[in-house]
Amino acid sequence: MEVGSQTRQETKVGSKAKKKSVAKKELMSGNEAIARGAWEAGVHFVTGYPGTPSTEILETVATYEDIEAEWSANEKVALDVGMGISLAGQRALVTMKHVGVNVAADSLMVYPYAGCIGGLVLISADDPGMHSSQNEQDNRYFAKFAKVPLLEPMDPQEAKDFVAIAFELSERYETPVMLRTTTRISHAKGIVELGERVSVETKEYQTDIPRFLVPPFARKRRPTVEERLKRLAGFSETFEYNRIDEGDPKIGVIASGVAYQYAREVLPDATYFRLGMAFPFPAEKARAFCERFETVYVIEEGEPFVEESLRLHGITNIVGKEKVPLMGELNPEILANVLHGTPIPTSHAAEIAIPPRPPLFCLGCPHRAVFYVLKRMMNQNVVALGDIGCYTLGGLPPYSSMQTSFCMGASVGNALGFSMASRENRKHKAVGIIGDGTFLHGGIPGLLDMACKQINSTLVICDNSTTAMTGQQENPATGKATNGEPTHKVDLVELVKALGIEHIGIVDPYDLKKMRQTLEEAIDHTGPSVVFSRHKCLMLKEERAKVREPIQLLSEQCNLCKACHALGCPAIEWSDTEGPIIDEVQCVGCEMCAELCKPNALVMPEMLQ
């Protein structure tokens, strides 16, 4: 029996989400479809860590009544919690972006040795083209590396349907399953036919130490993983989503993911072997397919994952990455270009200047103050080693004062290492820059080391009371659970003290002078130090609701010194004759410009009365 059909035959019992079951077809993004798929598959829990393009999956699930959804402190915790749920016999979906899987990898590599009781499905949302990521990382290799089956939907409908299939595979073969999407699956909308929620019984946990206590029994468990993969390879050969769509008998194409859709645009009449499950690889089906054609195009986004599997099995009449680009996001025009030589239209920038609109700090963003100040401290040999968050923009003009950024939490260890290497001459004064969310995600162990090292080293925690970059999710320091209910709130200052940091400065960065002073004191302090730059993100709901008066310009007082312009505020347009032109619609009245205005030409309206 086909795995996909089992769920649909079961009837739902006592479903609560009445509203959702009325409409039959909806326009949904891949992420919304995965959330719906989790609901239909009777999933009990969803855990995850926010990250583009995965975030909306958990956010959508959080609106459902029947599933408990909770952000974790980081991706490894999310997967560990998912494993716990699976061990207790229930279904868990775990969501993250591609680089999140790096964080969760320690657990992902081992759990297959024991294997699931309740189903465990890991969503890896990859970001080809790096729209919002630090690297391009094809996580199909992670499935192969961890020896877990890999499902790849081609559109939102499959994204939904694959969730149920993934859970059935997970339970039948006792393995975690990776469901991998990309930006153009997660964030593309299409029609999705809806189903009902199935009720899934909790499976019984039974003590089985030789299975679940992996290290002492790892050698015994090792063959289980390979035997399972063999059985899964058999499944892959007959899987209904590894199917052939007949077309022109002379043109053969193997494609997976959204690349299939692009291929369909460019080679509309070809015969297609569509891969919904590329690992374990359906080698015999692929061999039989390729034997029918002189040459087969392998069209996949990113790395030559399918191509390598074909070559591994001795199938060589294929054209893959020698034509289809390995870097960047694929699209129909690139494919038409490499397959047919069709030129890609270029923008009109050669004939008329098209100024860019680079991403900027939001109006009134507290990070603006931090980097305004840091820029002015660069002549004091301050080197700011940064992290992942909105504040990465502090490395771009007009601030250009955050000098490094790699991955979640790296700033702390980087700053410590940099300090260690330059402690003799203090030629560089290293300062780590990290947000509150990122600090809680991956910064705590680094700070513990910084505390124990007892050398001059500083960490600035830009605490805006939210996970801002991905859309203001709750974190352990916000005092709210994912559903908005009050919960334990970690006190960041007490936490930092408990880690052993004695010199702690706390400052509202809107006070630019004090910000600078606090930073200088921390940097000059002998021993490790932490500065909390503390102001709430203005995009938070409660902050947005505040009435904010725009700043006023007293033209006669302005001496055209341009100090306000140096802030790089989007609400200030500079005119060499009139001085600052304040956009009253945009201005949120943060008063940073007023603070910088020596002749007091910029004032708040209440000062005028």
Partner: protein, 202 residues
């Protein structure tokens, strides 16, 4: 197969973050669905959106594969701002149409960076390239209606005259996407935009 085979229609929708381009593009995709077609829509979220230019691809027809419009094959460009029309015009097919909000949003001039003047005469340049340009005073009309934020829907009304979708489908798309408390205003905004182009074209 008695059904009329319809080509896929490609509408690229561009603007600046905060102009409501995504709402308009979803309303369009939903309208196409309401008329019994398949629709796909694609955009990019995240850091790419902060204060930057926003672009959304909408495709509809009997069978739609790619969620991205092939560059050079867009039928219509919905542009909520002049500079963004210029930025994405090359996505249009030859002689494609631009439904353009007559609105200028200057990108911020960063301190200590070389000045980048806002290009002059954008509609004229685009016409010179062979594109059809409907210059729509969407913001002006929205201000008349007392809510500048519905300029996106005024422009959507103007766009509607260039696409083959029924009145009911448009209404359904708006009803599904626009919050109920501002629906009446937006239906009015849509009607104003729709009336505008048919009047000038007639």
């Amino acid at each position: 197969m008695n059904q009329i085979q319809r080509q896929t229609t490609n509408v690229l929708m561009a603007g600046v973050g905060g102009q409501g381009v995504l709402l308009a593009s979803e309303a369009l995709a939903l309208a196409a669905l309401a008329d019994g077609m398949e629709a796909k829509q694609s955009e990019v979220h995240g850091v790419a959106q902060r204060g930057g230019s926003v672009v959304s691809h909408v495709r509809f027809g009997q069978r739609v594969y790619s969620p991205l419009i092939r560059c050079g094959e867009a039928d219509v460009l919905y542009a909520a701002e002049r500079l963004e029309a210029l930025r994405y015009a090359h996505y249009l097919r030859p002689r494609g149409r631009i439904v353009l909000n007559d609105h200028v949003l200057k990108p911020i001039q960063l301190p200590d960076e070389p000045e980048q003047p806002y290009p002059e005469a954008i509609p004229e340049f685009l016409r010179g390239k062979g594109y059809e340009v409907d210059l729509i005073p969407a913001l002006e009309i929205a201000l008349e209606l007392g809510e500048k934020r519905c300029a996106n829907v005024v422009l959507l009304g103007a766009l509607s005259t260039r696409l083959d979708l029924s009145d009911q489908a448009w209404r359904s798309g708006l009803e599904k996407r626009v919050p109920e408390r501002i629906l009446t205003l937006n239906l009015e905004a849509f009607a104003r935009g729709r009336g505008l182009v048919s009047a000038s074209a007639g």
